[in-house]
Symmetry: C2
Subunit: 195 residues, 2 copies
DNA sequence: CGGGCTCATTAACATGGGTTAAGAGGGCTC
DNA sequence: GAGCCCTCTTAACCCATGTTAATGAGCCCG
Protein backbone atom coordinates (compact mmCIF):
# COMPACT_ATOMS: atom_id res chain seq x y z
CA UNK A 1 0.00 0.00 0.00
CA UNK A 2 1.38 3.39 -1.09
CA UNK A 3 4.71 1.88 -1.87
CA UNK A 4 5.84 5.03 -3.62
CA UNK A 5 5.36 7.32 -0.65
CA UNK A 6 8.87 7.16 0.82
CA UNK A 7 10.17 8.22 -2.58
CA UNK A 8 7.80 11.21 -2.66
CA UNK A 9 8.86 12.21 0.83
CA UNK A 10 12.50 12.04 -0.16
CA UNK A 11 11.96 14.18 -3.24
CA UNK A 12 9.83 16.70 -1.35
CA UNK A 13 12.30 17.03 1.47
CA UNK A 14 15.10 17.70 -0.97
CA UNK A 15 13.10 20.74 -2.17
CA UNK A 16 11.69 22.07 1.10
CA UNK A 17 11.46 20.30 4.43
CA UNK A 18 7.91 19.56 5.52
CA UNK A 19 6.68 19.02 9.09
CA UNK A 20 5.99 15.40 9.86
CA UNK A 21 2.26 16.05 10.39
CA UNK A 22 2.10 17.50 6.91
CA UNK A 23 3.72 14.38 5.46
CA UNK A 24 1.21 12.26 7.32
CA UNK A 25 -1.70 14.25 5.95
CA UNK A 26 -0.26 13.98 2.47
CA UNK A 27 0.06 10.25 2.83
CA UNK A 28 -3.55 9.98 3.97
CA UNK A 29 -4.67 12.06 1.02
CA UNK A 30 -2.80 10.05 -1.59
CA UNK A 31 -4.06 7.11 -3.48
CA UNK A 32 -1.68 5.04 -5.50
CA UNK A 33 -2.65 4.05 -9.00
CA UNK A 34 -1.12 1.82 -11.61
CA UNK A 35 -1.16 2.65 -15.32
CA UNK A 36 -0.70 0.24 -18.20
CA UNK A 37 1.04 1.41 -21.33
CA UNK A 38 -1.12 4.02 -23.10
CA UNK A 39 -3.46 4.54 -20.13
CA UNK A 40 -4.41 8.16 -19.46
CA UNK A 41 -4.05 10.08 -16.21
CA UNK A 42 -5.94 12.98 -17.79
CA UNK A 43 -7.58 13.54 -21.15
CA UNK A 44 -8.52 16.60 -23.16
CA UNK A 45 -12.17 17.52 -22.82
CA UNK A 46 -12.58 16.34 -19.25
CA UNK A 47 -13.00 18.31 -16.08
CA UNK A 48 -9.98 17.53 -13.90
CA UNK A 49 -9.57 17.39 -10.14
CA UNK A 50 -6.24 15.74 -9.37
CA UNK A 51 -2.52 16.18 -9.39
CA UNK A 52 -0.12 13.29 -9.51
CA UNK A 53 3.41 12.43 -8.60
CA UNK A 54 5.29 9.92 -10.75
CA UNK A 55 6.82 7.12 -8.74
CA UNK A 56 7.55 4.72 -11.58
CA UNK A 57 7.41 4.67 -15.34
CA UNK A 58 7.13 7.42 -17.90
CA UNK A 59 4.36 9.78 -19.00
CA UNK A 60 4.00 12.31 -21.75
CA UNK A 61 1.93 15.50 -21.93
CA UNK A 62 0.59 16.15 -25.39
CA UNK A 63 -1.72 18.51 -27.14
CA UNK A 64 -3.97 17.32 -29.95
CA UNK A 65 -4.79 19.94 -32.57
CA UNK A 66 -8.20 20.24 -34.15
CA UNK A 67 -6.75 18.45 -37.17
CA UNK A 68 -5.84 15.51 -34.94
CA UNK A 69 -2.08 16.04 -34.99
CA UNK A 70 -0.34 15.44 -31.70
CA UNK A 71 2.36 17.61 -30.20
CA UNK A 72 4.34 16.29 -27.23
CA UNK A 73 5.05 19.01 -24.70
CA UNK A 74 6.84 17.20 -21.90
CA UNK A 75 8.03 13.82 -20.70
CA UNK A 76 7.60 13.00 -17.02
CA UNK A 77 10.13 10.79 -15.33
CA UNK A 78 9.85 9.41 -11.77
CA UNK A 79 10.15 12.17 -9.18
CA UNK A 80 8.09 14.71 -11.12
CA UNK A 81 4.77 16.28 -10.45
CA UNK A 82 2.29 15.65 -13.24
CA UNK A 83 -0.84 17.78 -13.48
CA UNK A 84 -3.16 19.45 -15.98
CA UNK A 85 -2.22 22.72 -14.28
CA UNK A 86 -3.82 25.18 -16.64
CA UNK A 87 -7.19 23.49 -16.37
CA UNK A 88 -6.92 23.19 -12.58
CA UNK A 89 -5.86 26.80 -12.12
CA UNK A 90 -8.42 28.28 -14.44
CA UNK A 91 -11.17 25.78 -13.65
CA UNK A 92 -11.54 25.23 -17.35
CA UNK A 93 -11.94 22.13 -19.41
CA UNK A 94 -8.64 20.31 -19.80
CA UNK A 95 -6.77 20.61 -23.12
CA UNK A 96 -3.73 18.50 -22.34
CA UNK A 97 -3.52 14.72 -22.46
CA UNK A 98 -1.36 12.96 -19.87
CA UNK A 99 -0.58 9.42 -20.91
CA UNK A 100 1.64 6.59 -19.69
CA UNK A 101 4.15 5.47 -22.31
CA UNK A 102 5.26 2.43 -20.33
CA UNK A 103 3.69 0.70 -17.32
CA UNK A 104 3.73 3.34 -14.59
CA UNK A 105 2.60 4.32 -11.13
CA UNK A 106 1.33 7.57 -9.68
CA UNK A 107 0.48 8.92 -6.28
CA UNK A 108 -2.69 10.91 -6.81
CA UNK A 109 -4.00 13.82 -4.75
CA UNK A 110 -7.36 15.58 -5.02
CA UNK A 111 -6.33 19.08 -6.05
CA UNK A 112 -8.73 20.96 -3.78
CA UNK A 113 -7.70 18.99 -0.70
CA UNK A 114 -4.06 19.32 -1.61
CA UNK A 115 -4.29 23.09 -1.95
CA UNK A 116 -6.30 23.32 1.25
CA UNK A 117 -3.23 21.99 3.05
CA UNK A 118 -1.45 25.22 2.07
CA UNK A 119 -3.44 27.08 4.73
CA UNK A 120 -2.04 24.96 7.50
CA UNK A 121 1.37 24.18 5.99
CA UNK A 122 2.99 27.19 4.33
CA UNK A 123 6.00 24.88 3.86
CA UNK A 124 3.96 22.90 1.35
CA UNK A 125 2.87 26.01 -0.49
CA UNK A 126 6.50 27.06 -0.62
CA UNK A 127 7.47 23.70 -2.06
CA UNK A 128 4.85 24.09 -4.76
CA UNK A 129 5.96 27.64 -5.49
CA UNK A 130 9.55 26.46 -5.91
CA UNK A 131 8.57 23.60 -8.19
CA UNK A 132 6.46 25.86 -10.38
CA UNK A 133 9.24 28.44 -10.56
CA UNK A 134 11.61 25.75 -11.77
CA UNK A 135 9.09 24.54 -14.32
CA UNK A 136 8.62 28.11 -15.47
CA UNK A 137 12.36 28.42 -16.02
CA UNK A 138 12.40 25.19 -18.03
CA UNK A 139 9.55 26.44 -20.15
CA UNK A 140 11.46 29.64 -20.80
CA UNK A 141 14.44 27.70 -22.08
CA UNK A 142 12.24 25.57 -24.26
CA UNK A 143 10.40 28.57 -25.67
CA UNK A 144 13.67 30.21 -26.64
CA UNK A 145 14.95 27.00 -28.18
CA UNK A 146 11.82 26.54 -30.27
CA UNK A 147 12.20 29.96 -31.83
CA UNK A 148 15.95 30.43 -32.06
CA UNK A 149 17.36 26.96 -32.66
CA UNK A 150 17.20 24.64 -35.62
CA UNK A 151 15.48 21.27 -35.34
CA UNK A 152 18.83 19.54 -35.36
CA UNK A 153 20.20 21.42 -32.38
CA UNK A 154 16.94 20.92 -30.49
CA UNK A 155 17.42 17.20 -31.10
CA UNK A 156 20.94 17.39 -29.74
CA UNK A 157 19.62 19.24 -26.68
CA UNK A 158 16.95 16.60 -26.22
CA UNK A 159 19.52 13.82 -26.29
CA UNK A 160 21.59 15.60 -23.64
CA UNK A 161 18.57 16.36 -21.42
CA UNK A 162 16.96 12.92 -21.59
CA UNK A 163 19.75 10.36 -21.57
CA UNK A 164 18.49 6.89 -22.36
CA UNK A 165 15.00 8.01 -23.23
CA UNK A 166 15.60 7.63 -26.95
CA UNK A 167 15.88 3.88 -26.59
CA UNK A 168 12.63 3.58 -24.62
CA UNK A 169 10.13 5.27 -26.86
CA UNK A 170 9.35 5.36 -30.58
CA UNK A 171 11.06 8.10 -32.54
CA UNK A 172 7.84 9.74 -33.57
CA UNK A 173 7.33 10.78 -29.95
CA UNK A 174 10.67 12.51 -29.99
CA UNK A 175 9.92 14.13 -33.34
CA UNK A 176 6.67 15.43 -31.93
CA UNK A 177 8.48 16.80 -28.88
CA UNK A 178 10.93 18.58 -31.16
CA UNK A 179 8.11 20.05 -33.20
CA UNK A 180 9.00 18.27 -36.44
CA UNK A 181 7.66 15.32 -38.41
CA UNK A 182 9.11 11.85 -37.92
CA UNK A 183 10.24 12.04 -41.55
CA UNK A 184 12.31 15.08 -40.82
CA UNK A 185 13.79 13.61 -37.65
CA UNK A 186 14.83 10.66 -39.76
CA UNK A 187 16.61 13.03 -42.15
CA UNK A 188 18.37 14.72 -39.23
CA UNK A 189 19.51 11.37 -37.92
CA UNK A 190 20.79 10.35 -41.35
CA UNK A 191 22.66 13.63 -41.61
CA UNK A 192 24.19 13.23 -38.14
CA UNK A 193 25.24 9.65 -38.78
CA UNK A 194 26.60 10.43 -42.22
CA UNK A 195 29.17 12.87 -40.95
CA UNK B 1 7.07 59.62 -3.81
CA UNK B 2 6.09 56.03 -4.66
CA UNK B 3 3.19 57.33 -6.63
CA UNK B 4 2.58 53.91 -8.11
CA UNK B 5 2.09 52.15 -4.80
CA UNK B 6 -1.70 52.44 -4.50
CA UNK B 7 -1.92 50.81 -7.93
CA UNK B 8 0.29 47.92 -6.82
CA UNK B 9 -1.79 47.47 -3.70
CA UNK B 10 -4.97 47.39 -5.74
CA UNK B 11 -3.57 44.79 -8.13
CA UNK B 12 -2.16 42.66 -5.33
CA UNK B 13 -5.39 42.71 -3.35
CA UNK B 14 -7.32 41.60 -6.40
CA UNK B 15 -5.13 38.48 -6.46
CA UNK B 16 -4.81 37.71 -2.75
CA UNK B 17 -5.57 40.00 0.16
CA UNK B 18 -2.49 40.99 2.15
CA UNK B 19 -2.39 42.11 5.79
CA UNK B 20 -1.90 45.83 6.17
CA UNK B 21 1.50 45.36 7.88
CA UNK B 22 2.68 43.41 4.88
CA UNK B 23 1.64 46.20 2.55
CA UNK B 24 3.53 48.65 4.72
CA UNK B 25 6.66 46.54 4.62
CA UNK B 26 6.35 46.22 0.88
CA UNK B 27 6.02 49.95 0.52
CA UNK B 28 9.13 50.49 2.64
CA UNK B 29 11.05 48.00 0.55
CA UNK B 30 10.10 49.50 -2.78
CA UNK B 31 11.94 52.15 -4.64
CA UNK B 32 10.32 53.81 -7.59
CA UNK B 33 12.34 54.27 -10.73
CA UNK B 34 11.72 56.03 -14.00
CA UNK B 35 12.86 54.62 -17.32
CA UNK B 36 13.35 56.53 -20.55
CA UNK B 37 12.58 54.84 -23.84
CA UNK B 38 15.12 52.05 -24.45
CA UNK B 39 16.46 52.05 -20.87
CA UNK B 40 17.07 48.60 -19.39
CA UNK B 41 15.73 47.22 -16.14
CA UNK B 42 17.94 44.15 -16.61
CA UNK B 43 20.49 43.11 -19.19
CA UNK B 44 21.92 39.80 -20.30
CA UNK B 45 25.27 39.04 -18.76
CA UNK B 46 24.61 40.76 -15.44
CA UNK B 47 24.00 39.33 -12.03
CA UNK B 48 20.48 40.35 -11.03
CA UNK B 49 18.96 41.07 -7.63
CA UNK B 50 15.60 42.74 -8.17
CA UNK B 51 12.05 42.20 -9.23
CA UNK B 52 9.88 45.01 -10.52
CA UNK B 53 6.25 45.89 -10.86
CA UNK B 54 5.18 47.97 -13.85
CA UNK B 55 3.15 51.02 -12.85
CA UNK B 56 3.39 52.93 -16.11
CA UNK B 57 4.64 52.39 -19.62
CA UNK B 58 5.63 49.28 -21.49
CA UNK B 59 8.55 46.85 -21.32
CA UNK B 60 9.67 43.94 -23.41
CA UNK B 61 11.62 40.81 -22.46
CA UNK B 62 13.91 39.67 -25.22
CA UNK B 63 16.60 37.11 -25.81
CA UNK B 64 19.60 37.92 -27.96
CA UNK B 65 21.11 34.95 -29.77
CA UNK B 66 24.83 34.49 -30.22
CA UNK B 67 24.38 35.75 -33.77
CA UNK B 68 22.91 38.99 -32.40
CA UNK B 69 19.33 38.35 -33.46
CA UNK B 70 16.69 39.40 -30.99
CA UNK B 71 13.64 37.41 -30.04
CA UNK B 72 10.88 39.12 -28.04
CA UNK B 73 9.39 36.80 -25.44
CA UNK B 74 6.89 39.00 -23.63
CA UNK B 75 5.48 42.48 -23.39
CA UNK B 76 4.80 43.88 -19.92
CA UNK B 77 1.93 46.27 -19.46
CA UNK B 78 1.14 48.21 -16.25
CA UNK B 79 0.01 45.88 -13.48
CA UNK B 80 2.51 43.12 -14.29
CA UNK B 81 5.44 41.78 -12.40
CA UNK B 82 8.66 42.01 -14.37
CA UNK B 83 11.66 39.95 -13.34
CA UNK B 84 14.57 37.95 -14.73
CA UNK B 85 13.09 34.98 -12.91
CA UNK B 86 15.27 32.21 -14.25
CA UNK B 87 18.44 34.01 -13.25
CA UNK B 88 17.04 34.89 -9.80
CA UNK B 89 15.80 31.38 -9.14
CA UNK B 90 18.91 29.61 -10.32
CA UNK B 91 21.35 32.27 -9.12
CA UNK B 92 22.84 32.24 -12.58
CA UNK B 93 23.91 35.00 -14.88
CA UNK B 94 20.94 36.65 -16.54
CA UNK B 95 20.15 35.79 -20.18
CA UNK B 96 17.07 37.92 -20.69
CA UNK B 97 16.99 41.64 -21.47
CA UNK B 98 14.19 43.71 -19.93
CA UNK B 99 13.84 47.03 -21.71
CA UNK B 100 11.42 49.96 -21.66
CA UNK B 101 9.83 50.58 -25.06
CA UNK B 102 8.25 53.87 -24.02
CA UNK B 103 8.87 56.11 -20.99
CA UNK B 104 7.96 53.91 -18.02
CA UNK B 105 7.97 53.51 -14.25
CA UNK B 106 8.68 50.57 -12.01
CA UNK B 107 8.41 49.80 -8.35
CA UNK B 108 11.55 47.83 -7.59
CA UNK B 109 12.12 45.32 -4.79
CA UNK B 110 15.35 43.62 -3.77
CA UNK B 111 14.60 39.97 -4.49
CA UNK B 112 16.13 38.54 -1.33
CA UNK B 113 14.28 40.94 0.94
CA UNK B 114 11.06 40.39 -0.97
CA UNK B 115 11.30 36.62 -0.63
CA UNK B 116 12.24 36.95 3.04
CA UNK B 117 8.81 38.46 3.59
CA UNK B 118 7.31 35.09 2.63
CA UNK B 119 8.37 33.72 6.03
CA UNK B 120 6.24 36.21 7.89
CA UNK B 121 3.48 36.67 5.30
CA UNK B 122 2.36 33.39 3.72
CA UNK B 123 -0.30 35.54 2.02
CA UNK B 124 2.45 37.13 -0.04
CA UNK B 125 3.97 33.81 -0.96
CA UNK B 126 0.52 32.65 -2.02
CA UNK B 127 0.12 35.72 -4.18
CA UNK B 128 3.42 34.96 -5.87
CA UNK B 129 2.49 31.31 -6.33
CA UNK B 130 -0.77 32.32 -7.98
CA UNK B 131 0.93 34.81 -10.28
CA UNK B 132 3.55 32.29 -11.35
CA UNK B 133 0.89 29.63 -11.97
CA UNK B 134 -0.93 32.04 -14.23
CA UNK B 135 2.28 32.89 -16.06
CA UNK B 136 2.98 29.20 -16.44
CA UNK B 137 -0.42 28.71 -18.02
CA UNK B 138 0.22 31.59 -20.43
CA UNK B 139 3.55 30.08 -21.38
CA UNK B 140 1.85 26.76 -22.05
CA UNK B 141 -0.56 28.41 -24.46
CA UNK B 142 2.26 30.23 -26.17
CA UNK B 143 4.36 27.09 -26.49
CA UNK B 144 1.50 25.24 -28.12
CA UNK B 145 0.81 28.13 -30.46
CA UNK B 146 4.45 28.32 -31.56
CA UNK B 147 4.47 24.70 -32.62
CA UNK B 148 0.95 24.12 -33.87
CA UNK B 149 -0.14 27.42 -35.40
CA UNK B 150 0.98 29.25 -38.48
CA UNK B 151 2.57 32.71 -38.21
CA UNK B 152 -0.61 34.30 -39.48
CA UNK B 153 -2.82 32.84 -36.81
CA UNK B 154 -0.26 33.71 -34.13
CA UNK B 155 -0.48 37.28 -35.40
CA UNK B 156 -4.25 37.20 -35.14
CA UNK B 157 -3.94 35.89 -31.59
CA UNK B 158 -1.46 38.63 -30.77
CA UNK B 159 -3.86 41.29 -32.01
CA UNK B 160 -6.65 39.88 -29.87
CA UNK B 161 -4.44 39.55 -26.77
CA UNK B 162 -2.78 42.97 -26.98
CA UNK B 163 -5.40 45.42 -28.18
CA UNK B 164 -3.92 48.78 -29.07
CA UNK B 165 -0.33 47.63 -28.69
CA UNK B 166 0.18 47.42 -32.43
CA UNK B 167 -0.12 51.18 -32.75
CA UNK B 168 2.41 51.87 -29.99
CA UNK B 169 5.45 49.93 -31.10
CA UNK B 170 7.28 49.28 -34.36
CA UNK B 171 6.17 46.26 -36.27
CA UNK B 172 9.54 44.56 -36.06
CA UNK B 173 8.96 44.09 -32.35
CA UNK B 174 5.74 42.29 -33.09
CA UNK B 175 7.40 40.21 -35.77
CA UNK B 176 10.07 39.21 -33.30
CA UNK B 177 7.42 38.26 -30.75
CA UNK B 178 5.73 36.10 -33.35
CA UNK B 179 9.01 34.42 -34.21
CA UNK B 180 9.16 35.67 -37.80
CA UNK B 181 11.06 38.35 -39.70
CA UNK B 182 9.56 41.81 -40.21
CA UNK B 183 9.52 41.03 -43.92
CA UNK B 184 7.30 38.08 -43.37
CA UNK B 185 4.98 39.96 -41.04
CA UNK B 186 4.62 42.52 -43.78
CA UNK B 187 3.61 39.75 -46.19
CA UNK B 188 1.04 38.48 -43.71
CA UNK B 189 -0.40 41.95 -43.32
CA UNK B 190 -0.60 42.40 -47.09
CA UNK B 191 -2.36 39.06 -47.38
CA UNK B 192 -4.83 39.93 -44.62
CA UNK B 193 -5.60 43.35 -46.09
CA UNK B 194 -5.90 42.01 -49.63
CA UNK B 195 -8.69 39.68 -48.74
C1' DC C 1 6.36 -19.86 -41.92
C1' DG C 2 3.30 -16.43 -43.83
C1' DG C 3 0.48 -12.40 -43.24
C1' DG C 4 -0.36 -8.30 -40.85
C1' DC C 5 0.96 -5.08 -37.91
C1' DT C 6 4.02 -0.85 -36.49
C1' DC C 7 7.87 1.94 -37.13
C1' DA C 8 11.82 3.96 -39.68
C1' DT C 9 13.78 5.31 -43.94
C1' DT C 10 14.04 7.42 -48.45
C1' DA C 11 12.68 10.05 -52.50
C1' DA C 12 10.01 13.57 -55.07
C1' DC C 13 7.59 17.38 -54.74
C1' DA C 14 5.27 21.52 -52.33
C1' DT C 15 5.33 25.38 -49.23
C1' DG C 16 6.24 28.59 -45.37
C1' DG C 17 9.29 31.55 -44.18
C1' DG C 18 14.32 33.48 -44.48
C1' DT C 19 17.66 36.43 -47.09
C1' DT C 20 19.08 40.04 -49.87
C1' DA C 21 18.21 44.08 -52.08
C1' DA C 22 15.74 48.00 -53.64
C1' DG C 23 12.50 51.56 -53.06
C1' DA C 24 8.87 54.50 -50.80
C1' DG C 25 7.07 57.28 -47.10
C1' DG C 26 7.39 59.85 -42.87
C1' DG C 27 9.59 62.55 -39.68
C1' DC C 28 13.80 64.70 -38.03
C1' DT C 29 17.39 68.50 -38.21
C1' DC C 30 19.99 72.12 -40.27
C1' DG D 1 13.44 72.47 -48.64
C1' DA D 2 17.46 68.99 -48.80
C1' DG D 3 19.30 65.37 -46.74
C1' DC D 4 19.04 61.66 -43.53
C1' DC D 5 17.43 58.04 -40.77
C1' DC D 6 14.07 54.83 -39.50
C1' DT D 7 10.33 51.83 -40.72
C1' DC D 8 7.59 49.35 -43.82
C1' DT D 9 6.79 47.16 -48.22
C1' DT D 10 7.72 44.42 -52.32
C1' DA D 11 10.16 41.24 -55.28
C1' DA D 12 13.38 37.46 -56.43
C1' DC D 13 15.50 33.73 -54.92
C1' DC D 14 16.75 30.00 -51.51
C1' DC D 15 16.40 26.61 -47.83
C1' DA D 16 14.30 24.04 -44.01
C1' DT D 17 10.71 21.43 -43.27
C1' DG D 18 6.04 19.41 -44.52
C1' DT D 19 3.42 16.01 -47.53
C1' DT D 20 2.67 11.98 -49.98
C1' DA D 21 4.00 7.68 -51.25
C1' DA D 22 6.71 3.60 -51.67
C1' DT D 23 9.88 0.37 -49.46
C1' DG D 24 11.92 -2.25 -45.96
C1' DA D 25 12.88 -4.11 -41.20
C1' DG D 26 11.24 -6.09 -37.07
C1' DC D 27 7.75 -8.38 -34.60
C1' DC D 28 3.73 -10.84 -33.14
C1' DC D 29 0.46 -14.35 -33.71
C1' DG D 30 -2.14 -17.95 -35.70
Amino acid sequence: MKAGFPFLKEVFNSINTLPEVCSVELRNLAIEHEYAKFDYFAEAGEQVYSIGFVTEGLFRAFYRSSGGDEYNKTFFMPGSFIAPLTALVRGKQNQINLQALIPSRLLIFPYDQFTRLYDRYPELERLVRIVIQQEWAKKEEREIALVTQTARSRYETFLADHPGLEEEIPQYHIASYLGVTPIHLSRIRAEMAGR
